[in-house]
Amino acid sequence: MAIFKEVSTSDIKTTRSFLSQLIDVLQEDVSASVSRRKYQVFVTGGIGLGPGVTSSLFQTIFDQDFTLQTANPIFDMTVGLFSGGATVLSSQTGTDAAGKELFPSSSLMMREKIDNYRQFASALLGDSTLSFSSALDSSDTADKMDVALFIAFKRLFARDSIKRETMAIKFYQSASIIGPNPSAPAETWYRGVGNLDSTSVSGSAIYTDIGAATNKLSTFGGQVGNIVDSANTSRNVGLMFYDRGILVLDLTKITSSSQYMSGNIDAMTSTGRTTLGGARTETVFKSKLIPDFLVSASIDNIVDHIAATRFQSGSQTAITFQNTTNINSTLIFCRAAADEFNYSANPTFIDSDDRIVVIDVGQEDTQQSFTFVTSVGMYDANDNLLAVAKLSRPVEKSPERDLTLRVRLDFAKKRSFRYTK
């Protein structure tokens, strides 16, 4: 008898539970340049006095201005090209003796885009030479992802995995068709004005992993679900890798890829810029999203276009999903028997005469001491306090009452986080 009571091994149990959190990513967070961080690690030389081109290999989307300390990174976004796909092969001029793909100078970062694709294919499919297909394992050539958009969610939000059948993304298939003069012939809307930088206003679709909970696919990269068009669920447009927290979308399928595009992009020219889509006065359409823009533009230009225009810029949800955190818990049952813990070392428990105050004077033969419990301390053999639990209200302990307190210690990423704006 004392102030401690030993915990027997039968009073310690381990359990596992799962916690899901709903994550909403807002359109304006994806589109705003202040919440998109660039890492300009790709640098070219200049032509003449030209400045050359710098670009990121991916961009990180934050939930607010990324320069603020309170900003949380939500996901990384980049694009990739399949080395054996039509987009690459139509542009490739050859291969050097070392196996390096060669491309004309009007293209930009082609090898980096291919390497991006290979890296994701290696991590998710187990072979860097494979191409993604939507649906997974489809042998149909039309299902192979020639041009892929990769969205890799940060662990802060993906946690241990993303929950099946909770992913939805609202994406604008069309680029802006608003030009300087809407009454002008439609074919002129696309040129010279720059729909590369104009926010999309129509043609949105919702892509989702509906049906993934009952069609549990898996591959080298873990559990997979097919991403489909919610308006036509038989139309597969991408893959969700739940364990990795990576969304792979077929840009050919989620965009109006044949739409004509125009605007200024970085290029290996004397000014470091060029105009995609030709001059406004031209009457012949020149450039489409795929392959022209994807081949000619840097990764930064492409991600800028997708993030800034294809998700809209309002306060609605652009991407939503639920994550799952696996919580391993230790349950410790602290049992206080009827004759235990009925006295207290609390200074108010005795008066100046050392007398226990909860027993009325003159009632010593009929009344017994009682206490209240407000905390449980878990100690090691050397009396070090390892964990402490507090009760939300005092609980009486008396010789007429035994008490079992179940203390649960969770071993998980304990940071409770709800993403709101």
Binding site: M1, A2, I3, K5, E6, V7, I12, T330, I332, C334, D339, F341, N342, Y343, S344, A345, N346, T348, I350, D351, D353, D354, R355, V357, V358, D360, E364, Q368, S369, T371, F372, V373, T374, S375, V376, G377, M378, Y379, D380, A381, N382, D383, N384, L385, L386, A387, V388, K390, L391, S392, R393, P394, V395, E396, K397, P399, L405, R406, V407, L409
Partner: protein
Amino acid sequence: MGFLDHSSNNIILDAVLTDVGRQFLARNDGSFSIHKFALGDDEVNYGIISKYGRTVGREKIEKNTPIFEALTNQQHSQKYKLISVSNPNLLRLPTLTLSGDANVDGLNNTVTLGRNQTKTSTITVEQTIKNETTIDVELRDQTFVVEVPNLFVQILRQTPDNIDGQQRATYILTRSASENSFGGSNVQFTISVKSLTDSLFTVYGTTANKAKIKAFVKITGVQSGAVKDIAVIIDKNL
């Protein structure tokens, strides 16, 4: 720390690892091993029972006592513990009294030391009880836990069991062989001032007098749970 939500009738346990618990987990050597538990009642004011009686007082304590959230600092997490004694009819509990050499003021629970001449003081903490002839055998402390501010003082000829992140050193001391007329045990130890620089006095000196540092030593009887807090005043010029 704020208060716990007590708006529902469900009793919620808010559990956290202490800094020592996390330190032991980080060691990854099995030192994080829960061996025993203790119950505490830090927030409870039993004087309410005296004022309102056992029935109303109980209800007032249960319903009108806000509970603080759990603290991660082990020194402050569980100040007052509940005690198990097989005798259900105890009327009085022993307390700890302070005595010692000329530097010890037992009445005011203070020990005055200096950094030059009066660097040490021998302290005796003894179990006593009023209006009883004997202390219940189960409440006679065999071991005392002494927590001292490691930055300023140490216990001579003893090795701390643990020094936490707040520089509080914990010593576990065995009682002296002798006992008093109540059967109460005592522990005797010598507290010694460490080498203190002037800048330490500038930083830690009291508001009224920067030449004096005031720190606290806590002594807990392991069997009785009784606690004695002693103020240690270190004078720069003594």
